[in-house]
Symmetry: C2
């Protein structure tokens, strides 16, 4: 899919293709990076169908605001949760998890991450394909 086509369906800019720690095509645009007044930067993350990030954990936690499409959020040892437009997720600190698009939908969320992220292995293709 062309970036221009996708950008028509997004609220915040698409940004640049993510180069590491993701499977499939995903894009990141930092929409807020000022040091004040928030304790976090804000990124707009857009996943092509089937794209998802690797398993990872946030040292302080992360908040996701879903602005479009359909996606998955899964914490290690738990079932994957379907995410839809308008969903808000509070990811606890140091919990291994991943998120990304469903197989047949784009998925867009704002991500607020007040701290560092530790990256792990990719989500298994066979596991993802049976979701």
């Amino acid at each position: 899919m062309e970036n221009e086509q996708l950008s028509n369906s997004t609220i915040f800019p698409l940004g640049d293709k993510v180069q590491a720690n993701f499977t499939g095509d995903a894009y990141l645009k930092m929409v807020f990076t000022d040091p004040e007044p928030l304790n976090t930067a804000i990124g707009n993350v857009t996943f092509a169908p089937g794209a998802r990030n690797n398993w990872h954990a946030h040292q302080v936690g992360q908040v996701l605001l879903v602005t479009g499409g359909k996606g998955w959020y899964q914490e290690e040892g738990k079932a994957a949760r379907l995410l839809l437009t308008g969903d808000v997720i509070n990811i606890p600190p140091n919990v291994k998890h991943w998120h990304g698009a469903t197989k047949d939908s784009w998925f867009v969320h704002l991500a607020m991450t007040p701290g560092a992220t530790e990256w792990f292995e990719a989500v298994d293709d066979e596991w993802f394909d049976q979701l």
Copy 2:
């Protein structure tokens, strides 16, 4: 306009009609209120055409993420700035300002406010009408 009609054009829930410090019909839904990991709650604010908040100031500041429609943002002593979908505004602490919809468009933004707000007088109708 019916709430149901409006809700079809919004990403986050409409919430309840704001009862004070606004002119016209505006709605607020708090979408994130957990104490961690952010230093702020997040509210989704929806303004009917012509609706706006009173002049006010934030003790710590505020960040707005515009998710739909067309609106105005004005700091005291400066020109009003037109806001469109995708715009991000960092409102400095203790700066008197107002925001709201244009006369002919709904306007929706997320608001992140890590501190208290001081409210002042309403925006003058004659001033608003000539924008």
